[in-house]
Amino acid sequence: MFSLPYVAQQVVNGLTLGSIYALVAIGLTIVYGILRLINFAHGDLLMVGAYLALALLLNTALPLGAAVLLPMIVVGGVGVLVERLAYRPLRGAPEVAMLITSLAVSSVIQNGTIMTLSAQPRAFRLPQGLIAQHQVGVVSFSTLDAVSVALAVGLMALLTLFVTRTRVGIAMRACAENLRAARLMGININQVIAYAFAIGSALAAAAGFMWAGRFGSIEPFMGFLPGLKAFVAAVIGGIGSIPGAMLGGYLLGFAEIFFVGFLPPELSGYRDAFVFALLLLVLLVRPRGLLATGVEREG
């Protein structure tokens, strides 16, 4: 009933969408792991990354790599700044105070963008090189698809090396498990938290480029949906767990694409409802997510 190339196309779509969700979910999960903060402003950093990338593509002759890398660096810095200005003063306050603050930060970033750049959507035109289509057997994909997946996998491999091989990375896992014990061991938690925000925000910026390239236009509220979906992905995987965020991201990407691609077209309007139904289902079976570590932290 479905041709093989069609199925292959859906798999490619699932992989690229899943890569984006996974990258955004990682940022949410590492911050949540340490601070127990659900950072609603995270998706907006994806938007900032996309705008920066567009500005570089339009106004400079920098190589494509720079249009991905520079926004990652800048947005990483923005993430650190947001933590320093908005979240750190609330350290020790009830979790709900930080949650509401993150909503406020999200609003500030969105409206700041509208005030300075207008609410008009802008076309995100990719350089010719990225649009080229390739055919390998039954699989057809664009250069952007290939670059997105390769970049996401590469970044996740780097992150895995970071949290298993470096002092700060191991400390990040220690902080996520027991913040007080980490402080007693002499770990400077402010430094570790800054790293978490820098890394998470940089990954969101990379995802912003992929998202913008995939949909061809950007606007100030574009971060909301991927932010929300990535949150679902993180919860499905077990929030706080980095492998969980990766797994949840790809699961959600595939589930969403397959839902739209293989079910009757009348149903595709229910795509987002399906995503949340999936979340409910996973939580019913595994209330703490698929890869939850089972370690509960005391207040």
Binding site: R183, G186, I187
Partner: protein, 235 residues
């Protein structure tokens, strides 16, 4: 004096947990704080480590006021804290836990020697370096917690209830290690509910009752005190 706590008052919201306590620890000493549950023993250690902030009073270390320093600064100065309930990082390997204990250190050679040192103290850890700490038994986890705290090469080791929840044989092992450490010149401030064992190995003791120091002195004196006998040594 190496460590000097003066007139420390600590509150949890409006409840006063420490009511102006003072204590000293001199270099090379093994000092213990005994007292029942809720007397303020853990609160005292957490305040020294900078996790809790006192409303009044000071903590001085090597003559410097450290009362307002961040916990990681306090570790850097030479105070290491082995917390109550072990609180090892169960999702990290044994080796990673030990490395976290040495987080601020840059002296790689000496660190490598200290890794050997703590694994000599606790040979079981050497055999399990690559294992996740959560897979260790309770006694092994306590040994890891002490070893981890030692990895910062502390000038003072704060030990909070190291015998809590351990089988009697393991309690003996832990107390033997504490004596061994003391013989190696590590200064120790030990908090214990097991007053019998603590008074047996310490030089001096403070008896803490509901946030107030009731008695203090050399352990031989305290062990003869009728009140102490009745309250903590089972008559």
């Amino acid at each position: 004096m190496l460590l000097e706590v003066e007139n420390l008052s600590v509150y949890y919201d409006s409840i006063q947990a420490l009511k102006g306590i003072s204590l000293q620890v001199d270099s090379g000493e093994l000092v213990t704080i005994v007292g029942s549950n809720g007397a303020g023993k853990t609160t005292t250690l957490l305040t020294i480590s900078g996790i809790l902030r006192p409303r009044r009073g000071t903590v001085c270390f090597q003559g410097q006021d450290i009362t307002r320093l961040a916990p990681h600064e306090i570790v850097r100065r030479g105070i290491s804290h082995c917390p109550e309930g072990r609180q090892i990082f169960t999702g990290l390997t044994v080796l990673e836990n030990l490395l976290m204990g040495a987080y601020h250190r840059q002296d790689r050679d000496q660190m490598a020697r200290d890794l050997v040192w703590v694994q000599d103290l606790f040979p079981v850890l050497a055999a399990r370096r690559r294992q996740l700490a959560g897979t260790l038994s309770g006694g092994e986890q306590q040994m890891l917690a002490i070893a981890r705290a030692l990895m910062s090469r502390p000038k003072v080791l704060l030990l909070d209830e190291p015998s809590l929840g351990l089988a009697p044989m393991l309690v003996d092992t832990i107390f033997e290690v504490i004596q061994q450490l003391r013989a190696q010149g590590v200064t120790i401030l030990l908090v214990e509910q097991n007053a019998y064992q603590a008074l047996r190995i310490a030089d001096r003791a403070y008896v803490l009752e509901t946030g107030v120091i009731k008695l203090s002195g050399p352990v031989q004196e305290l062990a003869r005190n009728e009140e102490v006998k009745k309250a903590y040594l089972g008559g």
